[in-house]
Symmetry: C2
Subunit: 428 residues, 2 copies
């Protein structure tokens, strides 16, 4: 029995997409030519949605539509169509701050739960590039612009409390997508659960160890409570390297349907986690003709610079553009006040690091022991090699989560990653 | 020019209140007799609203109505009528958990922004009783029931995330009342502001000292950020001893218009702050015939027991009635898991103490240096004596806020209060 959907909703396909786009004059003009000439490809390789690329003689557009279920699982896991509303709201709210780092939105159809947006070209999903060992020299500056600006401008440092509360209220409706995160990231990997999977039998032992690891389960539960209660800023909520599209000199963030007002460190941690997963997967993609040692070092360098540049930029925005109700300027107006406030900015950003490391670790573990995996690791054909890469990532993540405060500097994280990378199977 | 109000709204008075109540059959029946026989008294001694007590031959009711301005200040400070909506929502949401500790609601009129509720009798405002040196033997158990249950059952420990988020969204609308708190408690007392007042000239020096005290201003700003971002539970938001009505064996909480989903420690801190203010004011009310030394010790004992019993009850509820998404049971199901979780409960409640102490200190300072004062201190006629009491309270509060972690046990707080109480004017 098909899932019930509201009147006016139907999943789009090639034949319904043509007249839909043709009926919208600006889109029709952008595509050019006649609708029957448009080339349509369905490319949704994510876990949730339909995604169409439409190419006309004049240009292209991308159409993303919610399905009433989780695509990765099928109709057995129904999922609210409203996620496209929240994705569009995120794009709408963040465009003034980070518009150039996201696709431009051309049209939103609330009945079809579909967003028509810029067709990014020749961008590819960043994860694919990392697997291929490609470098993105503009990435660090662009992703840290995105992180610092999207988080700062929707926090109480920049936004008056009444606007921040209104923003919070809107995204309080996004509970079904938040619950996916709560379950898949913060709960299931640490329990016996039918949705979990891992490289078996190689990781059976460590998976069981994690399920019995009480300090780890306490640490993930503390992070979950933070996820549930810290209304710090409008976060993307799923900021992995599959949610970023890149060229050598451009990076755009997509897929914001998990957005809500939550802990800032969750977004920063997501970026670091996926760079660390890329790092640990490199050995599985290296060949004699394509060794990856230098590339691994490039990745560690990016990780360090992402944290450092994010922190610098966030503090600079706070210094220059604070207009929110937190840390009111009138209270620190004089010389000694401004000096003390500057110290406080550094303290606040410093305290964000352990949370970032904790969320980073949570995002690593769920990709190896939970439902949704990453192709960085999945594409390593040799199962024993894959398990070795995964085991290193798991061991580091476990230590990061339980002892986040033992990593007071981002170089402590990359240093530990480097040491872990050298460990052999018998030593893990 | 009178403030604009929505159609259907008018401030009630004796002559309009009679037909309004008479038109509501259950209320009319409760009051009994004819409307012209009802005795009506306006008793709003708070800072914001109209409050009428109506007595008929059969019984009484209390009618609380929002005014379109802050009563304490007048029409120069307009204030949303919607506060009565939020007060009613709080009563509605919390009744299943702490109904017996609040007045029963008989009727809510959304157009008049009026709540008709139980006439509490022979209850008096607790603050008046404390000024008179009266003891309330049932208070500790009842206020800690209220705190533990109202906070626990609306937290992520008890409430599934979707319901918690829906609750959060509703109260995100209460921004105007939250802003009063943000300004009057967390900002203005630490700045030169026209709304501030204090016992002058006696406290001119210390008020100036506080405005220049950078560690204090950083501490209050951190607490403000917590107030703005910690969505832990549905808090009352104004839980002082003027928001509690008592008899020897009953305590009821009223005046919840400041409610929102915020940090739990704010409510607990508010109770402790007002008990400490009562403590420091006793010397000003003592006479030869009515010495207050024993009573002061009773107050300190209540302060200790309020914290300890709240903590015990909250942990017991968590142990027995956890049904929320935080710290999922499935993750700690076995013996060692349950043991570890029990340790974690104690850790979590322990970490609530420094926040409680911080908010407690903030609530003490605002009542001495900010806009709204308390009659515990205001009614001390001898200005020099009043200033001495206030100075002790300020000195303790400053230390509590800046060094909250130096008070790892509630007995450290009462011990410091006792030492501060002995200090003379020249030593402050």
């Amino acid at each position: 029995m098909p899932l019930e959907t509201p009147p006016g909703y139907r999943p789009l396909d090639e034949s319904s997409l043509r007249p839909f786009l043709a009926s919208l004059a600006p889109l029709s003009a952008r595509l050019g030519g006649r609708q029957q000439d448009w080339k349509i490809t369905e490319v949704g390789d994510g876990n949730l949605n339909l995604v169409f690329l439409v190419e006309g003689p004049g240009g292209g557009v991308c159409v993303k539509q919610s399905l009433p279920y989780v695509r990765l699982v099928g109709e057995a896991w129904p999922m609210t169509l409203k996620r496209s509303f929240f994705e569009h709201e995120y794009l709408r709210m963040q465009t003034p701050y980070v518009g150039e780092r996201m696709p431009e939105v051309y049209h939103y159809d609330p009945a079809l739960y579909a967003i028509v947006m810029e067709r990014l070209s020749p961008h590819i999903i960043m994860r694919h590039g990392l697997i291929a060992g490609r470098r993105y020299p503009a990435f660090t500056e662009q992703v840290t612009d995105f992180l610092a600006r999207s988080l700062f401008f929707t926090s109480d440092l920049a936004m008056p409390a009444n606007r921040k509360k209104a923003l919070t209220a809107v995204f309080c409706g996004n509970t079904e997508l938040c619950k996916i995160t709560e379950d898949l990231i913060f709960t299931e990997p640490y329990c016996l659960h039918e949705r979990n999977r891992w490289t078996t039998p190689e990781l059976d032992g460590i998976a069981g160890e994690f399920r019995a690891d009480i300090p780890l389960k306490l640490a993930i539960s503390r992070l979950k409570l933070k996820f549930l209660t810290s209304a710090e800023a409008l976060i993307h909520g799923d900021l992995h390297t599959g949610s970023m599209m890149v060229t050598e000199d451009d990076m755009r963030v997509i897929d914001a349907e998990f957005a809500f007002v939550g802990p800032m460190a969750f977004d920063v941690g997501a970026v670091l986690a996926n760079l660390l997963l890329a790092y640990f997967s490199q050995e599985g993609h290296a060949t004699g003709a394509d060794p990856r040692e230098d590339y691994e070092e490039w990745l560690l360098d990016v990780i360090e610079r992402v944290w450092r540049r994010f922190a610098e930029k966030f503090v600079a925005l706070w210094r220059e553009q604070a207009a929110g109700d937190a840390y009111p300027r009138m209270m620190f107006g004089d010389g000694p006040g401004e000096q003390a406030l500057e110290q406080e900015r550094l303290r606040v950003i410093g305290r964000l690091l352990p949370d970032t490391i904790g969320f980073c670790a949570a995002k690593m573990i769920r990709r190896i022991l939970g439902l949704a995996h990453v192709i960085d690791l999945e594409r390593i054909a040799d199962r024993r090699q894959r398990a070795l890469c995964e085991r290193r990532a798991l061991r580091l993540a476990r230590d990061l989560m339980v002892k986040a405060k033992d990593y007071p500097d981002i170089a402590d994280v990359t240093g530990a990653a480097r040491r872990m990378r050298r460990r052999s199977a018998s030593d893990l």
